[in-house]
Protein backbone atom coordinates (compact mmCIF):
# COMPACT_ATOMS: atom_id res chain seq x y z
CA UNK A 1 0.00 0.00 0.00
CA UNK A 2 2.88 2.33 0.92
CA UNK A 3 4.62 1.64 -2.37
CA UNK A 4 1.41 2.38 -4.25
CA UNK A 5 0.99 5.65 -2.41
CA UNK A 6 4.57 6.62 -3.19
CA UNK A 7 4.02 5.78 -6.86
CA UNK A 8 0.90 7.92 -7.00
CA UNK A 9 2.60 10.84 -5.29
CA UNK A 10 5.53 10.60 -7.64
CA UNK A 11 3.29 10.54 -10.69
CA UNK A 12 1.11 13.43 -9.57
CA UNK A 13 3.15 16.42 -10.84
CA UNK A 14 3.08 15.26 -14.45
CA UNK A 15 -0.72 15.23 -14.36
CA UNK A 16 -1.11 18.70 -12.95
CA UNK A 17 -1.55 21.90 -14.95
CA UNK A 18 1.41 22.21 -17.31
CA UNK A 19 2.50 18.60 -16.87
CA UNK A 20 2.95 16.49 -19.96
CA UNK A 21 0.17 14.06 -19.03
CA UNK A 22 -2.29 16.81 -18.18
CA UNK A 23 -4.81 15.40 -20.65
CA UNK A 24 -5.32 12.46 -18.31
CA UNK A 25 -5.65 14.52 -15.13
CA UNK A 26 -9.19 13.41 -14.37
CA UNK A 27 -8.30 9.77 -14.93
CA UNK A 28 -5.40 10.07 -12.49
CA UNK A 29 -7.58 11.92 -10.05
CA UNK A 30 -10.24 9.25 -10.29
CA UNK A 31 -7.80 6.45 -9.51
CA UNK A 32 -6.13 8.44 -6.78
CA UNK A 33 -9.32 9.15 -4.87
CA UNK A 34 -10.53 5.64 -5.56
CA UNK A 35 -7.50 4.18 -3.80
CA UNK A 36 -6.89 6.75 -1.08
CA UNK A 37 -8.98 9.19 0.86
CA UNK A 38 -8.18 12.58 -0.68
CA UNK A 39 -6.16 14.85 1.61
CA UNK A 40 -7.73 18.05 0.40
CA UNK A 41 -9.74 20.25 2.72
CA UNK A 42 -12.74 22.29 1.75
CA UNK A 43 -12.05 25.88 0.76
CA UNK A 44 -15.12 27.62 2.10
CA UNK A 45 -17.75 27.41 4.78
CA UNK A 46 -18.20 24.65 7.28
CA UNK A 47 -18.33 21.08 6.02
CA UNK A 48 -18.79 17.81 7.81
CA UNK A 49 -16.76 15.09 6.17
CA UNK A 50 -17.84 11.49 6.38
CA UNK A 51 -15.77 8.51 5.36
CA UNK A 52 -18.91 7.37 3.56
CA UNK A 53 -18.37 9.28 0.32
CA UNK A 54 -20.01 8.24 -2.89
CA UNK A 55 -17.14 5.93 -3.87
CA UNK A 56 -17.60 3.90 -0.70
CA UNK A 57 -21.37 3.89 -1.21
CA UNK A 58 -20.99 2.56 -4.70
CA UNK A 59 -18.58 -0.14 -3.57
CA UNK A 60 -21.06 -1.38 -0.98
CA UNK A 61 -23.78 -1.60 -3.63
CA UNK A 62 -21.42 -3.59 -5.84
CA UNK A 63 -20.60 -5.89 -2.93
CA UNK A 64 -24.27 -6.43 -2.24
CA UNK A 65 -24.72 -7.41 -5.88
CA UNK A 66 -22.13 -10.19 -5.57
CA UNK A 67 -24.53 -12.88 -4.27
CA UNK A 68 -26.77 -12.27 -7.29
CA UNK A 69 -23.77 -12.26 -9.60
CA UNK A 70 -22.41 -15.54 -8.26
CA UNK A 71 -25.79 -17.14 -8.35
CA UNK A 72 -26.32 -15.81 -11.89
CA UNK A 73 -23.10 -17.50 -12.96
CA UNK A 74 -24.17 -20.78 -11.42
CA UNK A 75 -27.64 -20.48 -12.88
CA UNK A 76 -26.33 -19.69 -16.36
CA UNK A 77 -24.28 -22.88 -16.22
CA UNK A 78 -27.13 -24.84 -14.67
CA UNK A 79 -29.59 -23.82 -17.39
CA UNK A 80 -27.05 -24.65 -20.05
CA UNK A 81 -26.34 -28.09 -18.63
CA UNK A 82 -30.06 -28.70 -18.21
CA UNK A 83 -30.65 -27.70 -21.82
CA UNK A 84 -27.95 -30.13 -22.94
CA UNK A 85 -29.84 -32.88 -21.14
CA UNK A 86 -27.14 -33.52 -18.57
CA UNK A 87 -27.78 -35.81 -15.59
CA UNK A 88 -25.02 -34.50 -13.34
CA UNK A 89 -24.27 -30.88 -12.59
CA UNK A 90 -20.58 -30.37 -11.76
CA UNK A 91 -20.64 -27.28 -9.53
CA UNK A 92 -17.33 -25.69 -10.49
CA UNK A 93 -17.87 -26.24 -14.19
CA UNK A 94 -21.28 -24.64 -14.02
CA UNK A 95 -19.80 -21.68 -12.21
CA UNK A 96 -16.91 -21.42 -14.66
CA UNK A 97 -19.31 -21.51 -17.59
CA UNK A 98 -21.38 -18.69 -16.16
CA UNK A 99 -18.22 -16.77 -15.28
CA UNK A 100 -16.92 -17.00 -18.83
CA UNK A 101 -20.35 -16.03 -20.14
CA UNK A 102 -20.69 -12.89 -18.04
CA UNK A 103 -17.13 -11.56 -17.93
CA UNK A 104 -17.05 -10.25 -21.53
CA UNK A 105 -20.35 -8.49 -20.95
CA UNK A 106 -19.15 -6.83 -17.75
CA UNK A 107 -15.92 -5.78 -19.45
CA UNK A 108 -17.76 -4.29 -22.43
CA UNK A 109 -20.20 -2.42 -20.23
CA UNK A 110 -17.42 -0.97 -18.05
CA UNK A 111 -15.08 -0.11 -20.91
CA UNK A 112 -17.78 1.70 -22.90
CA UNK A 113 -19.42 3.41 -19.92
CA UNK A 114 -16.25 4.44 -18.13
CA UNK A 115 -14.65 5.44 -21.43
CA UNK A 116 -17.44 7.93 -22.06
CA UNK A 117 -17.42 9.05 -18.45
CA UNK A 118 -13.65 9.66 -18.40
CA UNK A 119 -13.75 11.49 -21.73
CA UNK A 120 -16.58 13.76 -20.64
CA UNK A 121 -14.96 14.44 -17.26
CA UNK A 122 -11.70 15.43 -18.95
CA UNK A 123 -13.51 17.51 -21.52
CA UNK A 124 -15.44 19.46 -18.91
CA UNK A 125 -12.43 19.60 -16.58
CA UNK A 126 -14.38 17.93 -13.83
CA UNK A 127 -13.60 15.10 -11.50
CA UNK A 128 -14.63 11.64 -12.59
CA UNK A 129 -17.87 10.67 -10.95
CA UNK A 130 -18.17 7.15 -9.72
CA UNK A 131 -21.82 6.57 -10.60
CA UNK A 132 -20.97 4.16 -13.35
CA UNK A 133 -19.33 1.74 -10.94
CA UNK A 134 -22.74 0.33 -10.04
CA UNK A 135 -24.41 0.91 -13.39
CA UNK A 136 -21.65 -0.99 -15.17
CA UNK A 137 -22.27 -4.15 -13.22
CA UNK A 138 -26.06 -3.77 -13.24
CA UNK A 139 -26.27 -3.62 -17.03
CA UNK A 140 -25.02 -7.18 -17.73
CA UNK A 141 -27.04 -8.47 -14.81
CA UNK A 142 -30.39 -7.29 -16.12
CA UNK A 143 -29.81 -8.46 -19.69
CA UNK A 144 -30.41 -11.95 -21.07
CA UNK A 145 -27.32 -14.11 -21.16
CA UNK A 146 -27.30 -14.24 -24.96
CA UNK A 147 -27.31 -10.46 -25.55
CA UNK A 148 -24.62 -9.75 -28.17
CA UNK A 149 -21.70 -7.70 -26.89
CA UNK A 150 -22.04 -4.94 -29.47
CA UNK A 151 -25.66 -4.39 -28.44
CA UNK A 152 -24.58 -3.93 -24.84
CA UNK A 153 -21.96 -1.46 -26.04
CA UNK A 154 -24.43 0.54 -28.15
CA UNK A 155 -27.08 0.61 -25.44
CA UNK A 156 -24.60 1.54 -22.72
CA UNK A 157 -23.18 4.36 -24.81
CA UNK A 158 -26.67 5.62 -25.61
CA UNK A 159 -27.87 5.71 -22.06
CA UNK A 160 -24.68 7.07 -20.52
CA UNK A 161 -24.68 9.95 -23.01
CA UNK A 162 -28.37 10.70 -23.28
CA UNK A 163 -29.58 9.85 -19.81
CA UNK A 164 -26.64 10.90 -17.69
CA UNK A 165 -24.10 13.16 -19.33
CA UNK A 166 -26.52 15.52 -21.08
CA UNK A 167 -28.24 16.13 -17.76
CA UNK A 168 -24.92 16.94 -16.10
CA UNK A 169 -23.45 13.61 -15.04
CA UNK A 170 -23.82 11.45 -11.96
CA UNK A 171 -26.43 12.69 -9.54
CA UNK A 172 -28.32 14.77 -12.09
CA UNK A 173 -29.97 12.04 -14.12
CA UNK A 174 -33.75 11.79 -14.13
CA UNK A 175 -33.87 8.14 -15.11
CA UNK A 176 -31.96 5.13 -13.87
CA UNK A 177 -29.12 4.66 -16.37
CA UNK A 178 -28.99 0.87 -16.14
CA UNK A 179 -32.73 0.59 -16.69
CA UNK A 180 -32.65 2.89 -19.69
CA UNK A 181 -29.97 0.63 -21.15
CA UNK A 182 -32.31 -2.30 -20.66
CA UNK A 183 -35.26 -0.39 -22.08
CA UNK A 184 -33.20 0.73 -25.08
CA UNK A 185 -32.23 -2.86 -25.78
CA UNK A 186 -35.78 -4.04 -25.26
CA UNK A 187 -37.29 -1.61 -27.75
CA UNK A 188 -34.42 -1.49 -30.22
CA UNK A 189 -33.68 -5.20 -30.46
CA UNK A 190 -36.82 -6.99 -29.25
CA UNK A 191 -35.81 -10.29 -30.87
CA UNK A 192 -32.59 -10.39 -28.86
CA UNK A 193 -34.11 -9.25 -25.59
CA UNK A 194 -37.29 -11.24 -25.20
CA UNK A 195 -38.91 -14.37 -26.52
CA UNK A 196 -37.70 -17.89 -26.08
CA UNK A 197 -34.20 -17.99 -27.57
CA UNK A 198 -32.12 -15.67 -25.45
CA UNK A 199 -32.44 -16.56 -21.80
CA UNK A 200 -30.44 -19.77 -21.88
CA UNK A 201 -26.94 -19.86 -23.34
CA UNK A 202 -26.86 -22.34 -26.20
CA UNK A 203 -23.20 -22.28 -27.16
CA UNK A 204 -19.98 -23.22 -25.42
CA UNK A 205 -18.01 -20.45 -23.76
CA UNK A 206 -14.28 -20.58 -24.52
CA UNK A 207 -14.38 -24.36 -24.64
CA UNK A 208 -16.55 -24.88 -21.57
CA UNK A 209 -19.96 -26.43 -22.14
CA UNK A 210 -21.35 -27.75 -25.38
CA UNK A 211 -23.39 -26.55 -28.32
CA UNK A 212 -27.14 -27.08 -28.06
CA UNK A 213 -29.21 -26.65 -31.19
CA UNK A 214 -32.85 -25.68 -31.54
CA UNK A 215 -33.02 -24.55 -27.96
CA UNK A 216 -36.10 -22.64 -26.90
CA UNK A 217 -37.00 -21.65 -23.40
CA UNK A 218 -38.81 -18.46 -22.46
CA UNK A 219 -38.89 -17.05 -18.95
CA UNK A 220 -41.76 -18.37 -16.83
CA UNK A 221 -43.65 -15.10 -17.29
CA UNK A 222 -43.03 -15.22 -21.02
CA UNK A 223 -44.33 -18.77 -21.21
CA UNK A 224 -47.37 -17.83 -19.20
CA UNK A 225 -48.18 -14.82 -21.35
CA UNK A 226 -48.34 -16.94 -24.48
CA UNK A 227 -49.86 -20.04 -22.87
CA UNK A 228 -53.53 -19.11 -23.11
CA UNK A 229 -54.14 -20.72 -19.72
CA UNK A 230 -57.75 -20.52 -18.62
CA UNK A 231 -57.46 -21.32 -14.91
CA UNK A 232 -54.94 -21.35 -12.09
CA UNK A 233 -53.86 -24.99 -12.54
CA UNK A 234 -53.22 -24.53 -16.23
CA UNK A 235 -51.34 -21.33 -15.52
CA UNK A 236 -49.11 -23.09 -13.01
CA UNK A 237 -48.54 -25.99 -15.40
CA UNK A 238 -47.61 -23.68 -18.27
CA UNK A 239 -44.49 -22.45 -16.50
CA UNK A 240 -41.81 -25.06 -16.99
CA UNK A 241 -38.07 -25.16 -16.85
CA UNK A 242 -36.07 -26.04 -19.92
CA UNK A 243 -36.43 -29.78 -19.36
CA UNK A 244 -40.22 -29.42 -19.27
CA UNK A 245 -40.76 -29.91 -15.54
CA UNK A 246 -43.12 -27.46 -13.85
CA UNK A 247 -41.56 -24.77 -11.69
CA UNK A 248 -42.49 -24.63 -8.03
CA UNK A 249 -42.63 -21.50 -5.91
CA UNK A 250 -39.45 -22.70 -4.19
CA UNK A 251 -37.63 -22.81 -7.57
CA UNK A 252 -38.78 -19.28 -8.25
CA UNK A 253 -37.56 -18.11 -4.87
CA UNK A 254 -34.23 -19.89 -5.23
CA UNK A 255 -33.90 -18.73 -8.82
CA UNK A 256 -33.02 -21.85 -10.80
CA UNK A 257 -35.22 -20.64 -13.64
CA UNK A 258 -34.51 -19.09 -17.04
CA UNK A 259 -34.32 -15.32 -16.93
CA UNK A 260 -32.04 -12.33 -17.17
CA UNK A 261 -28.61 -13.05 -15.76
CA UNK A 262 -28.67 -11.68 -12.24
CA UNK A 263 -32.32 -11.26 -11.41
CA UNK A 264 -33.70 -14.78 -11.12
CA UNK A 265 -32.83 -15.52 -7.51
CA UNK A 266 -35.07 -13.75 -5.03
CA UNK A 267 -33.03 -15.28 -2.20
CA UNK A 268 -29.75 -13.73 -3.32
CA UNK A 269 -31.46 -10.43 -4.03
CA UNK A 270 -32.77 -10.43 -0.47
CA UNK A 271 -29.28 -11.18 0.90
CA UNK A 272 -27.94 -8.22 -1.07
CA UNK A 273 -30.90 -6.12 0.04
CA UNK A 274 -30.21 -6.98 3.66
CA UNK A 275 -26.65 -5.74 3.28
CA UNK A 276 -27.91 -2.51 1.71
CA UNK A 277 -30.37 -2.00 4.54
CA UNK A 278 -27.85 -2.79 7.30
CA UNK A 279 -25.39 -0.28 5.90
CA UNK A 280 -28.21 2.21 5.48
CA UNK A 281 -27.59 2.78 1.80
CA UNK A 282 -30.94 1.74 0.37
CA UNK A 283 -34.12 3.21 1.77
CA UNK A 284 -36.16 0.56 3.60
CA UNK A 285 -39.21 2.71 3.00
CA UNK A 286 -38.94 2.29 -0.75
CA UNK A 287 -38.07 -1.41 -0.71
CA UNK A 288 -40.87 -2.21 1.70
CA UNK A 289 -43.46 -0.19 -0.15
CA UNK A 290 -42.51 -1.66 -3.54
CA UNK A 291 -43.18 -5.13 -2.16
CA UNK A 292 -46.36 -3.89 -0.51
CA UNK A 293 -47.58 -2.29 -3.73
CA UNK A 294 -46.75 -5.42 -5.69
CA UNK A 295 -48.53 -7.63 -3.16
CA UNK A 296 -51.67 -5.47 -3.14
CA UNK A 297 -51.88 -5.33 -6.91
CA UNK A 298 -51.20 -9.08 -7.23
CA UNK A 299 -54.02 -9.75 -4.79
CA UNK A 300 -56.39 -7.57 -6.81
CA UNK A 301 -55.28 -9.18 -10.07
CA UNK A 302 -55.58 -12.65 -8.60
CA UNK A 303 -58.99 -11.86 -7.18
CA UNK A 304 -60.42 -10.83 -10.55
CA UNK A 305 -58.38 -13.23 -12.67
CA UNK A 306 -59.49 -13.70 -16.26
CA UNK A 307 -58.29 -16.09 -18.97
CA UNK A 308 -57.62 -13.06 -21.20
CA UNK A 309 -54.62 -12.25 -19.02
CA UNK A 310 -53.04 -15.54 -17.93
CA UNK A 311 -50.58 -13.78 -15.60
CA UNK A 312 -53.47 -12.77 -13.37
CA UNK A 313 -53.72 -16.37 -12.13
CA UNK A 314 -50.39 -16.07 -10.34
CA UNK A 315 -50.45 -15.96 -6.57
CA UNK A 316 -48.88 -13.12 -4.63
CA UNK A 317 -45.76 -15.13 -3.84
CA UNK A 318 -45.23 -16.07 -7.45
CA UNK A 319 -45.72 -12.51 -8.65
CA UNK A 320 -43.13 -11.18 -6.22
CA UNK A 321 -40.56 -13.90 -6.95
CA UNK A 322 -40.84 -14.05 -10.74
CA UNK A 323 -39.20 -11.85 -13.31
CA UNK A 324 -37.28 -8.75 -12.41
CA UNK A 325 -39.65 -7.62 -9.68
CA UNK A 326 -37.49 -8.33 -6.63
CA UNK A 327 -34.37 -7.07 -8.39
CA UNK A 328 -36.11 -3.85 -9.34
CA UNK A 329 -37.46 -3.44 -5.82
CA UNK A 330 -34.08 -3.84 -4.13
CA UNK A 331 -31.53 -2.48 -6.60
CA UNK A 332 -33.43 -0.23 -8.99
CA UNK A 333 -36.24 1.54 -7.20
CA UNK A 334 -34.22 2.82 -4.18
CA UNK A 335 -31.56 4.46 -6.39
CA UNK A 336 -31.10 7.68 -4.37
CA UNK A 337 -30.70 9.87 -7.45
CA UNK A 338 -33.85 8.92 -9.32
CA UNK A 339 -36.25 8.13 -6.49
CA UNK A 340 -38.09 10.45 -4.13
CA UNK A 341 -36.29 12.45 -1.44
CA UNK A 342 -39.05 13.02 1.10
CA UNK A 343 -40.01 10.16 3.38
CA UNK A 344 -43.71 10.34 2.57
CA UNK A 345 -42.79 10.57 -1.07
CA UNK A 346 -40.72 7.39 -0.76
CA UNK A 347 -43.74 5.44 0.43
CA UNK A 348 -45.90 6.73 -2.40
CA UNK A 349 -43.16 6.24 -5.00
CA UNK A 350 -42.37 2.69 -3.90
CA UNK A 351 -45.99 1.65 -3.65
CA UNK A 352 -46.72 2.93 -7.14
CA UNK A 353 -43.65 1.17 -8.56
CA UNK A 354 -44.99 -2.10 -7.18
CA UNK A 355 -48.52 -1.52 -8.40
CA UNK A 356 -47.50 -0.40 -11.90
CA UNK A 357 -45.04 -3.27 -12.28
CA UNK A 358 -47.75 -5.84 -11.62
CA UNK A 359 -50.26 -3.98 -13.78
CA UNK A 360 -47.90 -3.94 -16.77
CA UNK A 361 -46.88 -7.52 -16.27
CA UNK A 362 -50.41 -8.82 -15.85
CA UNK A 363 -52.44 -6.76 -18.25
CA UNK A 364 -50.01 -6.36 -21.11
CA UNK A 365 -49.00 -9.71 -22.50
CA UNK A 366 -46.45 -7.99 -24.73
CA UNK A 367 -44.32 -6.86 -21.78
CA UNK A 368 -44.17 -9.75 -19.33
CA UNK A 369 -41.22 -8.13 -17.54
CA UNK A 370 -42.96 -4.95 -16.46
CA UNK A 371 -40.82 -4.04 -13.46
CA UNK A 372 -38.31 -2.17 -15.61
CA UNK A 373 -40.94 0.02 -17.23
CA UNK A 374 -42.63 0.62 -13.88
CA UNK A 375 -39.46 1.96 -12.29
CA UNK A 376 -38.70 4.17 -15.30
CA UNK A 377 -42.23 5.52 -15.26
CA UNK A 378 -42.08 6.34 -11.57
CA UNK A 379 -38.60 7.90 -12.02
CA UNK A 380 -40.34 10.45 -14.18
CA UNK A 381 -42.93 11.12 -11.49
CA UNK A 382 -40.57 11.16 -8.48
CA UNK A 383 -39.90 14.93 -8.58
CA UNK A 384 -43.63 15.62 -8.87
CA UNK A 385 -44.36 13.41 -5.85
CA UNK A 386 -41.67 15.24 -3.88
CA UNK A 387 -43.08 18.59 -4.92
CA UNK A 388 -46.59 17.65 -3.77
CA UNK A 389 -45.31 16.30 -0.44
CA UNK A 390 -43.31 19.46 0.23
CA UNK A 391 -46.19 21.73 -0.79
CA UNK A 392 -48.62 19.80 1.40
CA UNK A 393 -46.21 20.18 4.30
CA UNK A 394 -45.87 23.91 3.70
CA UNK A 395 -49.62 24.30 3.59
CA UNK A 396 -50.14 22.24 6.72
CA UNK A 397 -47.63 24.30 8.65
CA UNK A 398 -49.09 27.56 7.39
CA UNK A 399 -52.53 26.44 8.53
CA UNK A 400 -51.11 25.44 11.90
CA UNK A 401 -49.46 28.82 12.32
CA UNK A 402 -52.65 30.58 11.36
CA UNK A 403 -54.66 28.51 13.86
CA UNK A 404 -52.14 29.25 16.60
CA UNK A 405 -52.32 32.97 15.90
CA UNK A 406 -56.11 32.93 16.04
CA UNK A 407 -56.07 30.98 19.31
CA UNK A 408 -53.96 33.67 21.01
CA UNK A 409 -55.13 36.97 19.53
CA UNK A 410 -53.83 39.05 22.44
CA UNK A 411 -50.51 39.82 20.73
Amino acid sequence: MKALKKLMDKARPSFEEGGKLHAFRSVFDGFDTFLFTPNETSQSGVHIHDAMDSKRTMIIVVVSLIPCLLFGMYNAGYQHWLAAGAETFPFWQLLLYGFLAIIPRIVVSYVVGLGIEFTVAQWRREEIQEGFLVTGILIPMICPIETPLWMIAVATAFSVIFVKEVFGGTGYNIFNVALVTRAFLFFAYPAQMSGDKVFVASDHMFGVGSRVDGLTCATPLGQLATSGATDATQAAASMTDIAGDPISLWDMFLGLIPGSFGETSTLCILIGGLLLLLTGIASWRIILSVFAGGAVMSLIAHWCATPTYPASFLTVGEQLCLGGFAFAAVFMAPDPVTSCRTNTGKYIYGFLVGVVAIIIRTYNNGYPEGAMLAVLLMNAFAPLIDYCVVEANVRRRLARGKAARQASPSK
Binding site: P148, W150, M151, F187, A188, Y189, Q192
Partner: protein, 208 residues
Amino acid sequence: MADKISNKQVFFNPFSKDNPVIVQVLGICSCLAVTAKLEPALVMGISVIAVLAFSNVIISLIRNTIPTNIRIIVQLVVVAALVIVVNQLLLAYAYDVSKQLSVFIGLIITNCILMGRLEAFAMGNKPWPSFLDGVGNGIGYAIILIIVGFFRELLGSGTLMNVQVIPPSLYEQGYVNNGLMILPPMALIVVACIIWVHRAYNKDLQEK
Protein backbone atom coordinates in the same frame (compact mmCIF):
# COMPACT_ATOMS: atom_id res chain seq x y z
CA MET B 1 -38.92 42.95 -37.72
CA ALA B 2 -37.82 46.45 -37.03
CA ASP B 3 -34.79 46.89 -39.22
CA LYS B 4 -34.79 46.16 -42.91
CA ILE B 5 -33.06 42.95 -43.91
CA SER B 6 -31.91 42.12 -47.40
CA ASN B 7 -33.60 39.58 -49.62
CA LYS B 8 -30.51 37.43 -49.38
CA GLN B 9 -30.83 37.25 -45.62
CA VAL B 10 -34.54 36.57 -45.91
CA PHE B 11 -33.73 33.57 -48.06
CA PHE B 12 -30.65 32.20 -46.31
CA ASN B 13 -31.28 32.90 -42.62
CA PRO B 14 -33.84 30.07 -42.21
CA PHE B 15 -31.26 27.55 -43.38
CA SER B 16 -29.24 27.74 -40.22
CA LYS B 17 -29.32 30.84 -38.01
CA ASP B 18 -33.10 31.12 -37.96
CA ASN B 19 -34.03 27.53 -38.78
CA PRO B 20 -37.73 26.91 -38.15
CA VAL B 21 -37.21 23.45 -36.65
CA ILE B 22 -33.99 23.56 -34.66
CA VAL B 23 -33.96 27.22 -33.62
CA GLN B 24 -37.62 28.22 -33.46
CA VAL B 25 -38.66 24.64 -32.61
CA LEU B 26 -41.74 24.67 -34.84
CA GLY B 27 -43.16 21.82 -36.89
CA ILE B 28 -41.76 19.19 -34.52
CA CYS B 29 -44.93 17.10 -34.74
CA SER B 30 -44.65 16.33 -38.44
CA CYS B 31 -40.92 15.91 -37.98
CA LEU B 32 -41.63 12.94 -35.71
CA ALA B 33 -44.32 11.49 -37.89
CA VAL B 34 -42.94 11.38 -41.40
CA THR B 35 -39.23 10.76 -40.91
CA ALA B 36 -39.13 7.01 -40.31
CA LYS B 37 -38.09 6.73 -43.96
CA LEU B 38 -36.17 9.16 -46.14
CA GLU B 39 -38.59 9.17 -49.08
CA PRO B 40 -41.68 10.44 -47.22
CA ALA B 41 -39.47 12.97 -45.45
CA LEU B 42 -38.28 14.28 -48.82
CA VAL B 43 -41.79 14.47 -50.27
CA MET B 44 -43.08 16.13 -47.12
CA GLY B 45 -40.27 18.68 -47.31
CA ILE B 46 -41.04 19.52 -50.95
CA SER B 47 -44.76 19.78 -50.19
CA VAL B 48 -44.13 22.21 -47.36
CA ILE B 49 -41.78 24.30 -49.51
CA ALA B 50 -44.47 24.58 -52.21
CA VAL B 51 -47.36 25.34 -49.85
CA LEU B 52 -45.34 27.79 -47.78
CA ALA B 53 -43.97 29.70 -50.78
CA PHE B 54 -47.29 30.11 -52.54
CA SER B 55 -49.36 30.84 -49.45
CA ASN B 56 -46.81 33.48 -48.47
CA VAL B 57 -47.13 35.09 -51.91
CA ILE B 58 -50.93 34.99 -51.92
CA ILE B 59 -51.26 36.37 -48.40
CA SER B 60 -48.68 39.00 -49.16
CA LEU B 61 -50.62 40.08 -52.26
CA ILE B 62 -53.88 40.51 -50.36
CA ARG B 63 -52.34 41.61 -47.05
CA ASN B 64 -53.73 45.14 -47.29
CA THR B 65 -57.30 44.01 -47.93
CA ILE B 66 -57.56 41.35 -45.20
CA PRO B 67 -59.55 42.64 -42.22
CA THR B 68 -57.40 42.17 -39.12
CA ASN B 69 -60.15 40.44 -37.16
CA ILE B 70 -60.50 37.52 -39.54
CA ARG B 71 -56.96 37.27 -40.85
CA ILE B 72 -56.33 33.84 -39.33
CA ILE B 73 -59.37 32.45 -41.10
CA VAL B 74 -58.28 33.94 -44.40
CA GLN B 75 -54.80 32.49 -43.94
CA LEU B 76 -56.23 29.09 -43.15
CA VAL B 77 -58.45 29.15 -46.25
CA VAL B 78 -55.49 29.97 -48.48
CA VAL B 79 -53.28 27.30 -46.91
CA ALA B 80 -56.04 24.71 -46.97
CA ALA B 81 -56.69 25.31 -50.66
CA LEU B 82 -53.01 24.90 -51.47
CA VAL B 83 -52.73 21.78 -49.33
CA ILE B 84 -55.62 20.20 -51.19
CA VAL B 85 -53.90 20.93 -54.49
CA VAL B 86 -50.65 19.37 -53.23
CA ASN B 87 -52.51 16.38 -51.86
CA GLN B 88 -54.28 15.78 -55.17
CA LEU B 89 -50.98 16.04 -57.03
CA LEU B 90 -49.40 13.50 -54.72
CA LEU B 91 -52.34 11.14 -55.08
CA ALA B 92 -52.01 11.42 -58.84
CA TYR B 93 -48.26 11.12 -59.26
CA ALA B 94 -46.84 9.58 -56.07
CA TYR B 95 -49.62 7.40 -54.73
CA ASP B 96 -47.49 5.11 -52.54
CA VAL B 97 -45.72 7.93 -50.78
CA SER B 98 -48.95 9.79 -50.25
CA LYS B 99 -50.33 6.64 -48.61
CA GLN B 100 -47.35 6.62 -46.23
CA LEU B 101 -47.76 10.30 -45.45
CA SER B 102 -51.51 9.71 -44.98
CA VAL B 103 -52.95 12.41 -42.79
CA PHE B 104 -49.80 14.46 -42.44
CA ILE B 105 -50.12 16.19 -45.81
CA GLY B 106 -53.53 17.38 -44.67
CA LEU B 107 -52.04 18.46 -41.40
CA ILE B 108 -49.70 20.88 -43.17
CA ILE B 109 -52.63 23.25 -42.66
CA THR B 110 -51.97 23.26 -38.94
CA ASN B 111 -48.18 23.27 -39.24
CA CYS B 112 -46.89 25.99 -36.96
CA ILE B 113 -44.25 27.05 -39.46
CA LEU B 114 -46.90 28.12 -41.98
CA MET B 115 -48.97 30.15 -39.58
CA GLY B 116 -45.80 31.60 -38.12
CA ARG B 117 -44.42 32.77 -41.44
CA LEU B 118 -47.76 34.10 -42.65
CA GLU B 119 -48.29 36.08 -39.47
CA ALA B 120 -44.72 37.21 -38.97
CA PHE B 121 -43.62 37.87 -42.51
CA ALA B 122 -46.19 37.74 -45.30
CA MET B 123 -48.63 40.05 -43.49
CA GLY B 124 -46.07 42.84 -43.53
CA ASN B 125 -43.92 42.35 -46.61
CA LYS B 126 -44.11 42.55 -50.37
CA PRO B 127 -44.73 39.41 -52.48
CA TRP B 128 -41.16 38.84 -53.71
CA PRO B 129 -39.49 38.86 -50.25
CA SER B 130 -42.42 36.80 -48.98
CA PHE B 131 -41.83 34.23 -51.70
CA LEU B 132 -38.14 34.04 -50.78
CA ASP B 133 -39.01 33.77 -47.11
CA GLY B 134 -41.43 30.94 -47.82
CA VAL B 135 -38.96 29.00 -49.93
CA GLY B 136 -36.16 29.63 -47.44
CA ASN B 137 -38.15 28.44 -44.45
CA GLY B 138 -39.48 25.49 -46.40
CA ILE B 139 -35.95 24.47 -47.29
CA GLY B 140 -34.83 24.97 -43.69
CA TYR B 141 -37.59 22.62 -42.60
CA ALA B 142 -36.85 20.12 -45.37
CA ILE B 143 -33.14 19.99 -44.51
CA ILE B 144 -33.88 18.90 -40.96
CA LEU B 145 -36.49 16.42 -42.12
CA ILE B 146 -34.02 14.89 -44.56
CA ILE B 147 -31.22 14.63 -41.99
CA VAL B 148 -33.54 12.99 -39.48
CA GLY B 149 -35.02 10.72 -42.12
CA PHE B 150 -31.55 9.75 -43.31
CA PHE B 151 -30.39 8.57 -39.91
CA ARG B 152 -33.66 6.94 -38.97
CA GLU B 153 -33.92 4.97 -42.17
CA LEU B 154 -30.23 4.05 -42.22
CA LEU B 155 -30.11 2.81 -38.63
CA GLY B 156 -33.70 1.64 -38.32
CA SER B 157 -34.19 -0.20 -41.61
CA GLY B 158 -30.71 -0.43 -43.10
CA THR B 159 -31.96 1.19 -46.29
CA LEU B 160 -31.95 4.61 -47.97
CA MET B 161 -34.78 5.58 -50.31
CA ASN B 162 -35.82 1.92 -49.96
CA VAL B 163 -32.46 0.73 -51.35
CA GLN B 164 -30.53 -1.64 -49.13
CA VAL B 165 -27.29 0.11 -48.16
CA ILE B 166 -26.10 -1.91 -45.19
CA PRO B 167 -24.48 -4.98 -46.76
CA PRO B 168 -26.08 -8.37 -46.07
CA SER B 169 -22.71 -9.71 -44.90
CA LEU B 170 -22.98 -7.42 -41.88
CA TYR B 171 -26.32 -8.97 -40.97
CA GLU B 172 -24.78 -12.41 -41.21
CA GLN B 173 -22.24 -11.37 -38.60
CA GLY B 174 -25.02 -10.51 -36.19
CA TYR B 175 -25.85 -6.90 -36.98
CA VAL B 176 -29.48 -6.07 -36.28
CA ASN B 177 -31.48 -3.00 -37.27
CA ASN B 178 -32.29 -0.73 -34.38
CA GLY B 179 -36.05 -1.03 -33.87
CA LEU B 180 -36.13 2.03 -31.66
CA MET B 181 -35.15 4.22 -34.62
CA ILE B 182 -38.47 3.40 -36.29
CA LEU B 183 -40.38 4.60 -33.24
CA PRO B 184 -41.18 8.34 -33.01
CA PRO B 185 -39.20 9.03 -29.79
CA MET B 186 -35.94 8.54 -31.64
CA ALA B 187 -36.87 11.35 -34.03
CA LEU B 188 -36.88 13.70 -31.05
CA ILE B 189 -33.48 12.45 -29.96
CA VAL B 190 -32.06 12.82 -33.48
CA VAL B 191 -33.46 16.37 -33.67
CA ALA B 192 -31.93 17.02 -30.26
CA CYS B 193 -28.55 15.83 -31.55
CA ILE B 194 -28.84 18.15 -34.56
CA ILE B 195 -29.64 21.05 -32.22
CA TRP B 196 -26.68 20.05 -30.03
CA VAL B 197 -24.23 20.09 -32.95
CA HIS B 198 -25.77 23.25 -34.38
CA ARG B 199 -25.50 25.17 -31.12
CA ALA B 200 -21.97 23.96 -30.59
CA TYR B 201 -21.01 25.68 -33.85
CA ASN B 202 -23.22 28.74 -33.32
CA LYS B 203 -22.21 30.06 -29.94
CA ASP B 204 -24.52 33.09 -30.17
CA LEU B 205 -27.55 30.77 -30.15
CA GLN B 206 -26.59 29.15 -26.85
CA GLU B 207 -28.87 30.02 -23.99
CA LYS B 208 -27.23 31.34 -20.89
